[in-house]
């Protein structure tokens, strides 16, 4: 039987070894964190000291610089879960479930931030904290999907079964992403239509677009750093669990051996 050597493996296959993943992620994580902090710091400088007030919204446009990255990352978090779930169900990649489990609380946190900052932006601009329009409601459903994934996993003791069931839910739930993205086009919403990711280019002036993109890059890097850290914690948790199982097996074996000797 032919086996693949290290050079013919894809990068995902090479990372399938948790020990190798821990070594590489241990090197990457401090650098990724440092770059994320530097870019966010620069983004905040642009936000508070460079970006002009919007001609219509005034200074409240500053909320957009964190609301929009949070909303993008809320969706990206779920995309990571969906891709990881696919990786688990189709390729049985050893780190796929680790990735899906690690992304859930981080994605939920960014979704919560998108909802809170959107609400705080809505009050001065729309006159209300909340309306049940398609965009806001679909993002709220995304938040509940994250909570549902975490609740489903924690309700099952069998880790392999929990991985499969959450992967099926994670994959099925991906339908929420196009609904969120196109909700402002398909339905009449109070929420404004897309103004950055558009076929005919962004509809925002560069003085506002640049700080927004710098913040988006900074928070995306932070998201990846947090995801990497959560994955490392999960690998350690599974090692602890495996060692505890081995300890129990060892103790049971010793007990059996002692009983057999006594007889």
């Amino acid at each position: 039987m032919k086996t693949k050597d290290a050079t013919s493996q894809s990068w995902t296959q090479r990372l399938a070894n948790p020990t190798r993943f821990m070594r590489l992620s241990g090197i990457v994580l401090p650098w990724l964190t440092a770059v994320a902090v530097a870019v966010i710091g620069y983004g905040l400088y642009l936000t508070f000291f460079v970006a002009p007030p919007d001609y219509q919204q005034g200074e409240t446009v500053k909320i957009m610089f964190i609301h929009v990255p949070a909303a993008w990352l809320a969706m990206m978090g779920y995309l990571i879960i969906a891709i990881s779930s696919f990786g688990l169900l189709v390729f049985r990649h050893p780190l796929a479930d680790v990735s899906a489990k690690a992304a859930a609380p981080i994605g939920a946190a960014f979704t919560l931030l998108a909802l809170i900052t959107g609400s705080l932006w809505g009050k001065p601009m729309w006159g209300t904290y909340w309306v049940w329009d398609a965009r806001l409601t679909s993002v709220l459903i995304l938040f509940f999907l994250y909570l549902g994934l975490m609740a489903l996993r924690s309700s099952l003791d069998d880790e392999a079964l929990a991985a499969k069931q959450t992967a099926v839910l994670g994959l099925a739930g991906v339908v929420i992403l196009p609904i969120i993205k196109f909700s402002v086009d398909w339905w009449n919403t109070l929420h404004q239509p897309a103004s950055v990711v558009k076929l005919d280019g962004p509809a925002i002036h560069s003085s506002i677009l640049v700080p927004l993109m710098v913040n988006a890059v900074g928070f995306s890097l932070l998201f990846f750093a947090l995801h990497l850290k959560a994955m490392r914690n999960e690998v350690l948790r599974r090692r602890v669990k495996a060692m505890r199982m081995a300890e129990v097996n060892e103790a049971a074996h010793n007990q059996d051996a002692a009983a057999a000797t006594a007889v």
Binding site: E59, T60, A109, L113, L120, E250
Partner: protein, 54 residues
């Protein structure tokens, strides 16, 4: 203090929410990582291995 206009409270509340949620997330991840590492070291110091010898 910079003047953020009549809606300054909403702007500061948004940034405070981001700071709070991300701080809680980061502290939880660091605490969890330390806890797992401590448990792993404890098991290793007791000579436990990942696979049972039997």
């Amino acid at each position: 203090m910079m003047d953020l206009g009549p809606h300054a409270a909403f702007i500061w509340a948004s940034y405070a929410a981001v700071a709070l949620v991300l701080t809680v997330l980061i502290v939880w991840l660091l605490w969890d990582g330390r806890r797992q590492r401590r448990m792993l070291e404890d098991l290793q110091s007791r000579g436990v291995r990942r696979r049972s010898r039997h």
